[in-house]
Amino acid sequence: MNGPQIDRRGLLGAGVMAAASVGIAGTAMGQGAVLAPGVSQADLAAALKAFRAVVGDEWVAGDAATLKPWSKSYTPDPSGRHAPVGAVCPANVEQVQALLKIANQYRQPLWPVSTGKNMGYGATTTAAPGQVVLDLKRMNRIISVDTELCTALVEPGVTYQQLRDYLDEHNIPLWIDVPTVGPIVGPVGNTLDRGVGYTPYGEHFMVQCGMEVVLANGDILKTGMGSTKNPSAWQAFKWGYGPYLDGIFTQSNFGVVTKMGLWLMPAPPVYKPLVVRHKHMADVARIVDAMRPLRIAGVVPNVVLMMGAAYQVAMFHRRGEVSDGAGQISDDDIGKFAASHDLGMWNTYIALYGTPAQVAESERIVRGAFAAIDGEVMTQEQMTGNPWFHHHATLMRGGLSLEEVGLARWKGAGGGLAWFAPVAPAKGSETQGQIDLAKQILAKYGFDYTAAFAVGMRELHHIIALLYDKADPAEEKRADACYRELVTGFGDRGWASYRTGVHAMDLVAAQYGDTNRAVNAAIKQALDPNHILAPGKSGIA
């Protein structure tokens, strides 16, 4: 492909070189962070000063003490290259435009975040060094809710808690769909990262409709029907006319999304959560093969989680309760602990929604499918008092919970967590090989296989929580190396990640090939020629 040549390979290296030639940003600017390529300390200082004039002194951070909450990270960062050098918090779209103008003037890169709580994927830390966090959390207006169309239009700082509160306080019988840390994250950030939840509206980008995007030059683009003279269908019709643009603003750095529409699910007359328990790890293939037709036909309408026992145990227990060994915990040890806590080796959570007759018929089909493969189908009444069932029953109705934060204390006190999320087709034949490979790589570095599968409409997400002690520098280094080997090892087998943290974005992008990267680079050059928006995001400089 002809076009602008971007030295992507040198992105992170250039940051380190800049540190050598210009100097570490200093204790005043983040914790060991280095400046962005081509940006001097004077440029950064001038940019921060200009930012203050836009948003007010209290909404700019530029020293180590005030930057602390933006520097918190769960992902491996043994050399400290992902810490931001500043943060700025605009209150509205006009301020975002003014900040982008300043960033262009000083070539100071900005790293936009919505709620900034993408724990295990980087939170508010940045993919490449020297960036100032563009923190959109203060922009938390719920612009509109249409109770007839069941839609909403929200700003990036709106959390699922806020949206739930608004609907409840106005007696609007609509559900939301949340990821596992719903109260402190929101629809815009999760959808832009192509995250999922666990109701029938769990594929968040599928139920997104219309965006407002501030481009790097300050122009405002409204996607879909939003730019027409009567944009009343902005949240009703996704596609608009001509090339469909919304996708290029997800997992990307091509613009700053300042409003987003989404569809909301009407509360169903009956909601029935179920868990299907299996006793053996080797049951994984037949569970997926049984589930696939049920998902494709819509008999099971929600995003299904097949939770491995170790992942479940790690939510509410610490590793020392299961094993005092240093090596990877065995399936036997996990299995015994799980069984004593009313858990299977696989715990597959599904839910049924609809009229009593619809739910009853679907349950009959589901029970038939799982009876054929020795699955134990359990109801809410049978699982009363089981905290894992309660947790998943909460998620599958769009309820709010932070219980999965407990994962971060599985191994030591340091709170280390990095999600590894390769994708495969939803076929049983794709499962055991992945488990074997994951266990082998994790064991090499001394980590446990704490994992689940999520069954989508046609695909299978393998969700592996790399849990480590971030307070132990040697272990953090091992976690970093382990994650990289997972990415490349799975990539070599054709199982590339659908999403990753700031610590591995370039590496995952490499799994998708040169042409893919060249197209992204060309779009970037066209829309953001000064590369001031989140260089390094998804491997795009």
Partner: protein
């Protein structure tokens, strides 16, 4: 619509009744369309954020321990170990001051359960 509303409330009520945290999380926020989130009461801030972990199996119990307000402020902004850090854009300085005082003086909540 009204019938559906009652149905939805009936579906959610049992879960909300399970913990004290859920009770404080369900306190009204008072947010109106097109307006930013108004400053939350300490009980609402606690219920919407802290109580989901501290009091729900994940983090240590805070209420009733009379922890110093300054210590609470530092923990919120810095995070510790597995605890996230909360930015001024999430919990405003005014909300944090009020929250820290409230937690410091709050009695224990017997419906909370923690580690």
């Amino acid at each position: 619509m009204k019938r559906l509303a009652l149905l939805a409330l009936a579906l959610t009520a049992p879960a909300l009744a399970q913990t004290g945290t859920a009770q404080t999380a369900s306190l009204p926020s008072g947010q109106q369309l097109g307006q930013v989130l108004p400053q939350r009461t300490p009980a609402k801030t606690y219920g919407s954020t802290c109580g989901y972990c501290h009091g729900t199996n994940v983090g240590p119990i805070l209420l009733g321990r009379h922890l110093p307000a300054g210590y609470i402020r530092d923990m919120v902004r810095g995070g510790r170990n597995g605890m996230p850090a909360f930015r001024p854009s999430e919990v405003t300085p005014a909300e944090l001051d009020a929250l820290a005082e409230w937690i410091s003086k709050a009695p224990a909540n017997p419906t909370e359960h923690g580690q």
